[in-house]
């Protein structure tokens, strides 16, 4: 398979991790809560997975699961007090949370090794290759070189994870939970008056978003095999925000599209990569002025479906 290029697989893998991050901010946004702390939750997932696999030699799936759950638990801890806040206050508080997590990562050296970071995290593709070789399998039998096999494995695992995530939350948006989220987003007082337990749903959304961020973080650790506090700064939180704001904050496909597009374009246009953040800044302003709901919104989706089905709505 000469045409399988690990470079493209690598970029696609990053697109998928970013898609999960995009969904993570979308979930909380769907209840009207803007959380800028997802970089913090991501780091919790990443470091948990990294530490469990390097210090305690636990298998990769254990680390990923633990990282996600821990991040989700942190989400509950942050979500409950945040109930008292909304809008701008919430955004700032979560931003503060993210920075506090980063400060802890830098200073708690005995646990996290500080700014030096954690290296030699088992990379899921390489681990699987070794595991396969031990059982007598060799990638050459499929016509693949080792590095193609590694990149392909990583890509497929991430693809599966992303599809699972999107499918789950798509289903959720159709369920009672999803309808509650939408109601809370539109008018919280009305929703509460209608008997919806807003507290429960808001914290649920928050922890779901945190869990997803942690999940993405753990996957990130196991794909790049190195994490350090510098990967989880305010800039990362803003990047995640841009995925949802640009891609579309009203349907789950929005942030997925936003993440894919905004990961691919700077890579494809490496020449403009220097100006990436300048363009992001302009993009944010333009989107807010001209199309605040993002590129993909329900109206666009309806048009797309209509053109497929042929029946006017």
């Amino acid at each position: 398979m000469e045409w399988l290029n690990p470079y493209h697989l690598q970029v696609a893998s990053f697109m998928l991790i970013n898609a999960i991050l995009g969904v993570s901010i979308y979930v909380t946004l769907s209840t009207g809560q803007l959380s800028l702390g997802n970089a913090g939750f991501m780091s919790i997932g990443a470091y948990t997975a990294a530490l469990l696999s390097t210090q305690h030699q636990l298998p990769i799936p254990v680390g990923i699961l633990a990282g996600s759950l821990l991040a989700g638990a942190a989400g509950i801890l942050v979500g409950i007090p945040s109930l008292r806040l909304s809008g701008v206050y919430l955004a700032i508080a979560t931003l503060g949370f993210g920075e506090v997590v980063r400060a802890v990562l830098i200073n708690w050296e005995s646990l996290t090794r500080g700014a030096v970071g954690i290296a030699a995290i088992p990379q899921v593709g390489r681990v699987i290759l070794v595991w396969a070789r031990d059982r007598g399998f060799s990638p050459e039998s499929l016509g693949l070189q080792s590095n193609q096999f590694i990149s392909l494995t990583v890509f497929l695992i991430l693809l599966f994870s992303t599809l699972l995530t999107v499918a789950f939350f798509l289903r959720l948006s159709r369920s009672r939970v999803g309808r509650a989220y939408a109601a809370i987003r539109l008018d919280e007082s009305a929703a509460a008056a209608a008997g919806i337990p807003t507290t429960y749903y808001k914290v649920l959304a928050f922890s779901q978003g945190a869990l997803l961020s942690g999940f993405a973080g753990a996957l990130f650790a196991h794909s790049t095999s190195f994490v350090s506090p510098g990967d989880f700064t305010y800039h990362r939180a803003v990047e995640i925000l841009v995925f949802a704001v640009f891609g579309g904050s009203e349907h789950i496909i929005g942030p997925v599209f936003g993440a894919a597009f905004l990961t691919l374009v700077p890579e494809a246009l490496r020449a403009i990569s220097e100006y990436r953040y300048i363009l992001y800044g302009i993009l944010l302003v333009l989107m807010m002025v001209f199309r605040p709901q993002g590129v993909i919104d329900p109206a666009l989706l309806r048009r797309f479906r209509r053109s497929g089905k042929g029946t006017p709505a």
């Binding site: 700032i92 503060g96 920075e99 605040p292």
Partner: protein
């Protein structure tokens, strides 16, 4: 050492206070956090630096230049990133927040393109002059910074309470619609507010250059986040809250480094935000807002 640290803390705190005032003015009138404020402050610092180092002009000219440039930026910000969002049915507060985040990213990286990423020297002509009072050495620069900050704060308070324009601004802060009904030109008012707030950021930028002698394109980010901490701590929309909060943060940071662990210095501001938001969301001096939740 305690007295020296105290002076360090007060100097730092008064600069923080001015930055916080910029945030609080805009929030009071527009109900939004201008996330680009920190970057405007950074640009003020660079303009001041350029004027003094490259043009060799004296300090007052640097202040003037910084004020002019940052005021202009405030004008542009309001006109292109904020005004189009007002009165739009779908746009929430979040839209303005996000829009200003966009501007801040833009400014931070444009500055990086133009000035590079290193530290630039900000030379104050009288930087070496100091007085020794007993065991303590006080620098003229520190005194000047404190004086300018106090003047600015006093001036702002007076302007808000005594002048017509100031009162109009307070009215607009109270309730934009009503103020409009009462004959206040709300658009003018909003523009004025953003311009004044930005100019204050510019002044703070020059003060930071004077205080630390070195500026770089990252100071906007950290100052911005700290400014947020201050106004939340002191109460969004409260002028006295911003001043008090700024001083308290400046002193806390200095003393934590002096007597505690310097590694957590930047985290203090954020821990403060979180604690205050949980205990008293309206801040020390803020009023409990009319609606149930803010």
């Amino acid at each position: 050492m305690f007295l020296e640290q105290l002076i360090n803390g007060i100097t730092l705190g008064s600069i923080y206070a001015i930055v916080a005032l910029g945030y609080t003015l805009v929030f009071g009138v527009l109900d939004i956090i201008n996330m680009a404020h920190g970057e405007i402050f950074m640009i003020g610092a660079f303009v001041g630096m350029l004027i003094m180092s490259k043009a060799g002009a004296p300090l007052p000219v640097a202040f003037l230049g910084a004020i002019v440039v940052t005021a202009a930026m405030g004008l542009l910000l309001e006109r292109f990133a904020l005004r189009p969002l007002r009165g739009r049915p779908g746009a929430s507060h979040l839209a303005s927040l996000i829009s200003t985040i966009g501007v801040s990213i833009l400014l931070e990286n444009v500055a990086h393109k133009i000035f590079g990423s290193g530290n630039h020297l900000f030379e104050t002509p009288f930087a070496e002059i100091s007085f020794t009072i007993g065991p303590v050495t006080v620098y003229l620069v520190q005194v000047v910074i404190l004086l300018i900050s106090l003047l600015l704060m006093a001036g702002l308070s007076l302007w808000l309470s005594r002048t017509r324009a100031g009162k109009a601004l307070r009215a607009a802060a109270e309730n934009l619609e009503t103020a409009g009904l009462l004959g206040v030109d709300t658009n003018r008012m909003i523009t004025t507010t953003v311009v004044i707030a930005s100019a204050m950021g510019g002044v703070a930028g020059v003060l930071v250059g004077m205080a630390f002698n070195y500026i770089n394109n990252q100071i906007g980010l950290s100052m911005g986040l700290k400014g947020l901490a201050i106004i939340i701590f002191g109460g969004m929309g409260s002028v006295y809250g911003a001043m008090a909060g700024g001083l308290i943060l400046g002193l806390s940071e200095t003393f934590v480094v002096a007597y505690g662990s310097s590694g957590y210095r930047d985290a203090i501001a954020f821990v403060a935000i979180i604690v205050i938001l949980l205990i008293k969301p309206q801040g020390l001096f803020g009023q409990a807002p009319a609606e149930a939740k803010r």
